[in-house]
Amino acid sequence: MRRRQLHLGGFFSTPGNHLAGWRHPNAVPTADMDFRLYAHITQMVERAKFDTIFFQDTAAVNGSRAMARGDMTRTRISRIVKLEPTTLLCALAAVTSHIGLIATATTTYNEPYNVARRFMSIDHISGGRAGWNLVTSQIEDEAQNFGYAEHVDHAKRYARAAEFYDVVVGLWDSWEDDALLRDKAAGIYMDRDKVHFLDHEGEHFKVRGPLNVTRSAQGWPVVAQAGSSEAGRELAAKTADVVFTAQTLMDEARAFYADVKGRAARYGRSAEDIVIMPGITPVLGATMAEARERYEELQALLPDDLALQSMSHISGGLDLSKFPLDGPLPELPPSNAAKARQALVVKTAREQNMTLRQIARHTAAAMGHRVLVGTAEYIADELVRWLKADAADGFNVICNHYPKPLEDFCQLVVPELQRRGVFRTEYEGTTLREHLGLRVPKNRYTARQRQAAD
């Protein structure tokens, strides 16, 4: 029997996920705005047979709310400007042939018709390789770019997100697969009976449809989610094809994995319908000692006060700079933003008995994701260990800076995984659903008619 395969995503957190990674001598710090670099790294992971790339997003300058209030201490933070990811995916689709293309788009400050259209368009441009990472906007910085003084409450945001999802996938089914005839002789462009009004009326949206884009080569774009809170897990179990998560401890990861897949069963979905991909940050060396040296080299670029700033979005509004760096992490007020990430950081600090300085430096290094410091063999073994323990179906590879650490991962770790028989040497197909082993969703109208006919 063929061994269970793991999936790999390139989580592109440009110009580097490590808060000071861009200062590394090998780093290309223009990686935030330079399309040529994005094209280069995407083609590189495509050659390495990654399932997909993935872009996170925020519709604001990070920290802009604080800066608007006069706090100008953030000029050392690098993830300030970037290319808007759904637009970027279109351009990357044009210069690649197999790699999946996933980007975040918020349900909080968009209209479902526009989002449905845009992702289905990317799916057409790419020949069935698009994915939508559905999020609710959790960053306080965003609200004021969209006419709100404060951002929307966590529960309300999720209620809107759930309805938003229903509208989007409903619109994606507007056209049955054989609706476009384009019959020149008869003069019939489309079969009217195979195009459907959604006619959605809900608490948040009223959308008639039909969408003015047909279904794609993979039916619908893949839907990804990253919410790990209670509401987030429930929505993911019901709707997500892919779940991104931050997990640092294998037991926790196994519990999360079992929980999400268990919840999915309640919605009539099987465990294989959801691909769970925790993030990992590799720090590679020819020996374990060299890898550790490289990690220390990176951490040396990070001043303590900058590390502390990385905690600001999960501190629940508490000003951590008022607390002693060598004391414990203080009690944090509940956060309306990233609930699950806050819990993870607090748990890590408490369990490992870390000081405020230590937990801040740890968080700044990988934004809460697991850091794997070691040789290619060690990292491959760790990934396989999690795979076998049902702690993950695959991993999102997040890099401290670009492009060198990603090149190293593709050249050194991927062959190790292939040697262990857990990673493809050729793509199975051309669509993202094929790479991930996901089913093509049936068109609801076609299915209904078939049912009625039986």
Partner: protein
């Protein structure tokens, strides 16, 4: 009249010492065909609406022909869906049903072209300015400064119902929102000065906060703090295009647009429109170089006059009366044109809340004695734009005449179907224009502003450099 009668080619003499004014071209992309049933033509590739590979091939052709830009039309609904929803019959012959969202399409095309301008329509009625500012500026970076935004207000009832509304917004309110939307977008585009990002590895300082600017916009329709999370454009700011030819539309264009698209049936109309636009623009301190005017033109090219006429007639044969009449009905301001005999005259029309300038044009056709069906055939072929058929020389004569009479800066080219008429224009007409010295043989620059010859606007927030 819309149709250019063929005439003998004449050489127009110009003074040799004066550099000739140059024509500019946009390729209007209304896939699968600008002629609503043009997709049925034997040469037509019918799936240009959803197949990106065809768009890519056409972009390469347009770039080979040194055209200024490709310009994508858009609507956020299936045209006619409001009527269909209300129980009206649906015309299955019309090709414009589904298409790749054009802002996404031009982002894809940016990656495989190097000089061609890429313009897409995006409505101000059903979007948020922060999102629109971000997407266009992103494509501007991907393309190295070749993007343009065709700012429109949504005038189709079809669209409103996809965004929670039962009817579309009133004309005046829509334009008021559009004007404020424009100001927010352009303001956000200046969030960062060109040298704001230091990326200094040594000191660890990423940006200079004195070169970052909050917009802090508070208006009737929008409250937007900023800054935008995209650096400033390689061409200063994306090009703004507009197509509104109503009074309020022209005023907005005069103040804000770099390019104006318009339907002008005769050279005299074109001259009047150009003069009017330039007078209005002057009020805002803007000269002829700030605003390029592109009337629409559907060229039908033949190697001989006979071949061109044959092609023209073949396309007229393809016009679907139902589509034509629907085109008329849309401009009738609520009057039900189907109550009138199609072979009779056009009745007096109540003012339309939708496309006012178009309505005035069909009223003018009616006054010239055209029947409802005939008007419909003309609208049905080219969406009320001018159609010209002839040899490359004849078409060059026509365009040169418009250019020299100051009736245009160039043309937005409509194609009855794709890709053959676009190829014909690039391979047959462009060389003739180049031979006459009225069209570039190489691109002037790598940005859309450089090729259009419109200025790079200064950053509104930047301090004037101190004089020594």
């Amino acid at each position: 009249m819309i149709i250019l009668p063929p005439k003998a080619s004449t050489m127009i003499l110009t003074k040799p010492d004066k550099p000739k004014r140059q024509l500019r071209f946009g390729a209007f992309m209304n896939v699968p065909s600008s002629h609503p049933t043009g997709w049925r033509h034997p040469d037509a590739i019918a799936d240009t609406d959803l197949c990106f590979r065809h768009l890519a091939d056409m972009a390469r052709m347009a770039e080979h022909g040194r055209l200024d830009a490709m310009f994508f039309q858009d609507s956020v609904a299936i045209p006619g869906s409001a009527g269909l929803y209300g129980g009206k019959p649906f015309n299955p012959r019309s090709g414009r049903q589904a298409h790749i969202e054009p802002v996404s399409a031009i982002a894809g095309l940016a990656a495989i072209t190097s000089h061609l301008g890429l313009i897409s329509t995006c409505t101000t009625s059903y979007n948020e300015p922060y999102n629109v500012a971000r997407r266009f500026l992103t494509i501007d970076h991907i393309s190295g400064g070749r993007v343009g935004w065709n700012l429109v207000t949504s005038q189709a009832e079809d669209e409103a119902m996809n965004f929670g509304l039962d009817a579309h917004l009133d004309h005046a309110l829509r334009y008021e929102r559009a004007a404020e939307f424009h100001d927010v977008v352009v303001g956000l585009w200046d969030s960062w000065e060109d040298d704001a990002f230091l990326r200094d590895k040594e000191s660890g300082v990423w940006f200079d906060h004195t070169k970052m600017h909050f917009l802090n916009h508070r208006g009737k329709h929008f409250t937007v703090r900023g800054p935008l999370n995209v650096a400033r454009s390689p061409q200063g700011r994306p090009v703004i295009a507009q197509a509104g030819s109503s009074d309020v539309g022209m005023e907005l264009a005069a103040r804000t647009a770099d390019m104006v698209f318009t339907a002008q049936p005769t050279i005299r109309d074109g001259q009047a429109f150009c003069a009017e636009m330039r007078t209005r623009a002057a009020k805002y301190g803007r000269g002829p170089d700030h605003l390029r005017i592109f009337p629409g033109l559907m060229p039908i090219v033949g190697r001989t006059e006979g071949e061109a006429r044959e092609k023209y007639e073949e396309l007229r044969e393809l016009v679907d009366d139902e589509v034509g009449l629907r085109g008329v009905a849309r401009l009738c301001g609520g009057l039900n044109i189907y109550d009138y005999p199609p072979d009779g005259p056009l009745p007096p029309l109540p003012p339309s809340n939708a496309a006012r300038a178009r309505q005035e044009m069909i009223i003018a056709m009616g006054k010239r004695g055209m029947t409802i069906r005939e008007i419909g055939r003309v609208l049905g072929m080219s969406q009320a734009h001018r159609v010209a058929y002839g040899t490359p020389q004849q078409l060059a004569d026509d365009m040169q005449e418009w250019l020299e009479a100051d009736a245009c800066d160039g043309f937005n080219l409509l194609f009855a179907h794709y890709p053959k008429p676009l190829e014909d224009f690039c391979l047959l007409v462009v060389p003739e224009l180049q031979r006459r010295g009225i069209f570039r043989t190489e691109y002037e620059g790598t940005t859309l502003r450089a090729n259009l010859g419109v200025p790079v606007p200064p950053n509104v927030f930047a301090q004037e450099p101190a004089h020594a």
